[in-house]
Amino acid sequence: MAGAAISIVDVSHGYDDLQVLSGVSLEVPAGGRLAVIGPSGCGKSTLLSLVAGLEQPVAGRIAVGGEEPASERLARCALMPQDDLLLPWRSALDNAALPLVNAGVSRRDARDAARPLFARFGLAGFEEAPPRRLSGGMRQRVAFLRTLLAGKGVLLLDEPFASLDALTREELQGWLVDALEQEPRSAIMVTHDVDEALRTCPRIAVLSGRPGRIVLVDATAGLTRGDVLEALRS
């Protein structure tokens, strides 16, 4: 699975009289990875909800894999939240396998499908552990595998490493890049960490403060931390 292309055209959104996003346009090619960075409250998470079809934008158009209806976008996107939100009454393996069970796969088959991923992604031996026995970094890995196993073409990562300590965060950033190379998907990763954006994604979009507008979209290869910070300040 190489992923589905995402197209966001002139999207504005808000709640009552609070405007959150203003005229945002972004493209992510199939299999592409885009980091979205911006100050708190600039509508980054809202953008992910809109792409996923959990909400409809007030204005503008969003297509995932060429399809615009919200239900079609929901069918193509999987969300990974900032807090792992693993279910405490399920083992790590059963948490990761949950999207398959939700899709009607039997529990046994779902666990069999999830097990090889545990071995490949550094979680071997922790299949039956309840989430509370795992470190923060391991919980995020399980949450990521759960997102992968939803079988969607698009991964929407909402500050996935924000709650981790610096060392674990750096380790998981490298892990994520590896994982996405082995299991290619289109991905939008929201973050407030400039280094994380530069390290994990080939392209970056910088949003202004609320209402969020695009102030910079570029390849990360030629950018420095200073460039991004300058765009954030403007």
Binding site: L79, M80, P81, L87, L98, N102, R132, R146, A150
Partner: protein
């Protein structure tokens, strides 16, 4: 050791009570001495034992009915949000109907058997279960629900796989409160119509020793049910305790 602290507390209370009766020569029609209650327990043991079993059965069946009805009401009200606004206030209001007022109607309608007693106990006990279950269902984090929707979960799957287990610790809180009510509710029910239960030993209010014995047994029933619910909670929702 802290969980056994009730034992010395109980001993002190009983000793103080016995001392008060003896030193002040309180007549037994004012208050029975613990020794009177002990004697009544022993002398009436066979009658009291069969009465206890009758009351226990009413209590268990009524309590089970309360749990089923309370959970069913909560699930329906949660899944059908439009119904919640209409029915929830009525459920709360139903708790202010004095059981004494409707018990005769239930007995006329359902006879002197187990049925009216089950209904009375269920009426007294269901609300804490419904209220706690409803709060519990709603307490699952919004982010988790949103995430689950993108992980192939239908609203039904979100309810059974997320909201219901999420609510389990709160449902048990409600079930514990209801367990504490169930014994007294059973007694209400017995007073309303034909019994064979512990209420029979409470009819002669002047035989304070026997009344005290029935009260002690009733308290044991309530405690036993409460303890059973706590035990069940520990077995079924271990994650709630280890946080």
């Amino acid at each position: 050791m802290r969980r056994l602290a009730w034992i010395p507390a109980l001993v002190v209370i009983i000793a103080a009570w016995q001392a008060w009766i003896d030193l002040r020569s309180v007549p037994d029609y004012i208050a029975p001495a613990p020794s009177d209650i002990g004697r009544a327990l022993w002398d009436g043991r066979s009658t009291l034992a069969s009465e206890t079993l009758v009351t226990l059965r009413e209590m268990l069946v009524g309590y089970a009915a309360a749990i089923v009805a309370g959970l069913a009401a909560a699930i329906v009200l949660h899944r059908a949000g439009w119904l919640r606004g209409a029915v929830y206030p009525l459920l709360v209001a139903s708790q202010s109907i004095p059981i004494v007022a409707i018990a005769p109607l239930l007995v006329i309608g359902l006879g002197f058997g187990l049925a009216p007693k089950v209904v009375i106990i269920a009426l007294v006990c269901f609300l804490p279960i419904t209220v706690n279950a409803l709060d519990g269902f709603a307490s699952a984090p919004g982010d988790l629900r949103r995430t689950m929707r993108t992980l192939n979960a239908s609203p039904r799957a979100i309810f059974w796989r997320v909201e219901l287990p999420w609510a389990a610790p709160r449902i048990f809180s409600g079930a514990r409160i209801a367990a504490a009510y169930a014994a007294v509710a059973a007694l209400f029910a017995e007073y309303a119509g034909g019994s064979g239960g512990l209420a029979d030993s409470m009819h002669d209010q002047l035989d304070t020793g026997l009344v005290g014995a029935a009260v002690v047994l009733l308290a044991c029933l309530a405690l036993g049910l409460f303890a059973a619910v706590v035990l069940l909670e520990r077995v079924t929702v271990p994650w709630a305790r280890e946080g």
